[in-house]
């Protein structure tokens, strides 16, 4: 049972000091481009907090996955930008 940080992480450091299990490792470029979670140490904050801390402060949708591989903060859940609006805008910008 562990959370995972994927490559959309922007290395903002917000999660690192919050982890009760000290499971979060900073990026170490060029080998490791973004923050990672030590799966052996991660407890999903059980027994320490009601909500998993890293996923509760992470500003990037989709950057943290739960044990099942699902995004804890799915598209639109943090910014309020509807995913289809974002996709449409990205397509418009790319088309320029």
């Amino acid at each position: 049972m562990a959370y995972r940080i994927i490559d959309s992480c922007v290395n903002c450091w917000a999660c690192e000091p919050l982890c009760p299990s000290d499971a979060i490792r900073p990026a170490d470029p060029p080998a490791v481009a973004h923050f990672t979670i030590d799966a052996r140490a991660c407890t999903e904050c059980e027994g320490d907090h009601a909500d998993p801390q890293c996923a509760s402060i992470c500003p990037v949708e989709g950057a943290i996955l739960d044990a099942a591989g699902e995004a804890v903060n799915p598209p639109g859940s943090l910014t309020g930008i509807p995913p289809e609006r974002l996709a449409q805008a990205m397509a418009e910008i790319r088309a320029r």
């Binding site: 922007v10 917000a14 500003p59 930008i81």
Partner: protein, 512 residues
């Protein structure tokens, strides 16, 4: 640093005589402040309109984490072509920040101020922020330290901030009403949970107001930043201005929302527009009735280096700083010499011939303009000035990346010149299609100068001269190296005499 000497926490509210009624220009906006506060901001480029012509500042990007989300921010911050808050190219450790600051302070001796403004919230990363300040106050005690925050974590850190002698704090306060706040802040991180909606905004507002009160009680100078978001908080900002002034903030800086789809922010993608130059100015004028307003803010990047309006960050990357060999003591001595020369120059520029030659005259008495509103029988007109600093007209039109906008009104010797703000020519990277040829760049510049009558610069080419005239503007290169306010007054007088200024009725509408 003399924080203890500030024993009148609410003094900024006291004077109150200076209002929006054209009570003069430049740092006159701070005339209502007690002398000891004015002395503290006298050489701070971000707080004093006059100082910003002469002194430099830098921000170090040591604080990447944030504890809230704002709808005008996108946390994927890294574009070297952009010049807006929250954007940086290189995140620094406190040690790297320290080395960079000492390098900049040695190479740019006009530097007086180091700020930590992000790219996240500096108090959401308090350790990195405070470590930087601690080190720097030991090695360069002449550099002023500032921090900018959203205020959420402020109350719990006020005492520590005071310990480190950080004597200026900026709090971004966009609202005092949680219902409005919910339209600006989708969530905050509070007590180990992500909190959303009106509840989140209420907590944030309470923390901001508490932090503001605690700082002013302790004599720390507090500036309040507000982002003007048309249709969301525009009317409300007048209330914000009243509230923060009552709690002792000494300066209110209303900044325009920056929102383009390519920035990937909620506002940018959802089509929320930013305010026009006129909307921004009108609101600043209304809020100015309540307190000192700041109009020369350039909305710098969180890693900006140099004079306001310029960014020399590329000269000070980690790699380049590491290669520099700096004598800290000698650099500090040189700064002291350069600052003394700047002060002599400022005094010479500003003193009226009949002014007594005191060593520190009150800023209000230094100004050339009168405290009374300008008579309205003559039309007001706006002028754009190209300058690289020093308080004089000294930039080639084609090289200007920004213009300072001044308004002149009056008659004969009684011409009132007031500073309205800075307009950037190329503030944003807006994608490939606007990076076109010189023709397009000039058209863009002319659009930037909307509402302006005359353009003062040190030199201007024949083609842009013709294009400006065709657009109804009066280009002028005859006041090169003259103090800006004198040059503006001279051109205004000239145009008035030639009958080339708009009728009073139109001018009044323009400045409304």
């Amino acid at each position: 640093m003399a924080l203890e000497a500030l024993d009148q926490p609410n003094t900024p509210a006291a004077g109150g005589g200076c209002s929006s009624s054209g009570c003069g220009s430049s740092s006159d906006k701070l005339a209502h402040l007690p002398e000891h506060i004015r002395a503290k901001v006298h050489n701070h480029p971000c707080f004093s309109e006059d100082a910003h012509h002469h002194y430099a500042r830098m921000h170090v990007a040591v604080a990447p984490a944030c504890n809230i989300q704002c709808h005008y921010c996108n946390r994927k911050y890294d574009c070297s072509n952009e010049s807006r808050p929250g954007v940086v190219s290189e995140l620094l450790t406190p040690e790297q920040a320290m080395a960079k600051t000492l390098a900049v302070a040695a190479e740019i001796p006009q530097m007086t101020v180091l700020g930590i403004a992000g790219p996240g919230d500096p108090l959401a990363n308090p350790e990195r922020t405070l470590a930087t300040f601690r080190e720097l106050s030991a090695k360069a005690p002449d550099i002023k330290l500032c921090v900018s925050t959203n205020g959420l974590a402020l109350p719990e850190l006020v005492d520590e901030i005071c310990q480190h002698n950080i004597d200026h704090v900026t709090i971004t306060i966009n609202c005092v009403d949680p219902e409005i706040g919910a339209k600006i802040y989708p969530w905050i991180f509070w007590n180990n949970r992500r909190v959303r909606g009106v509840k989140a905004a209420r907590i944030l507002i309470e923390q901001q107001q508490k932090g503001l009160e605690m700082l002013t009680e302790r004599g720390v100078l507090v500036k309040v930043n507000s982002v003007l978001i048309p249709g969301v908080n525009d009317e409300h900002l007048k209330e914000v201005s009243r509230v923060v002034k009552a709690k002792g903030a000494f300066l209110h800086n209303v900044m325009p929302l920056i929102a383009e789809p390519e920035h990937g922010t909620f506002y940018g993608l959802m089509g929320q527009r930013g305010p026009s130059n006129d909307e921004l100015q009108a609101l600043q004028d209304e809020c100015a009735g309540d307190m000192a307003m700041m109009r020369h803010c350039r909305q710098c990047r969180a890693d900006a280096v140099g004079m306001l309006g310029e960014d020399r960050g590329a000269e000070f990357t980690n790699e380049k700083v590491a290669a520099m060999d700096i004598d800290y003591e000698a650099a500090m001595a040189r700064r002291a010499e350069v600052h003394a020369a700047i002060e002599a120059n400022r005094t010479a520029q500003q003193r009226q011939p009949d002014e007594p030659s005191e060593t520190f005259v009150p800023i209000a008495s230094l100004k050339r303009s009168k405290r009374q509103p300008a008579p309205r029988e003559t039309p007001a007109a706006r002028f754009a000035v190209a300058t690289t600093g020093g308080g004089v007209v000294n930039e080639h039109f084609g090289h200007a990346r920004e213009f300072l906008i001044y308004e002149a009104a009056g008659d004969g010797d009684d011409i009132d010149v007031r500073f309205l703000g800075a307009r950037k020519v190329d503030l944003y990277c807006s994608g490939g299609d606007t990076c076109g040829d010189a023709e397009d760049a000039l058209a863009k510049t002319i659009r930037t100068l909307e509402g302006v009558t005359g353009v003062l610069c040190s030199k201007i080419g024949i083609e842009p001269w013709d294009r400006l005239e065709a657009a109804g503007l009066v280009p002028n290169g005859e006041h090169a190296m003259e103090p800006i306010e004198d040059a503006v007054a001279a051109l205004y007088r000239e145009l008035l005499a030639e009958g080339r200024l708009a009728a009073p009725v139109e001018a009044a509408a323009l400045s409304a």
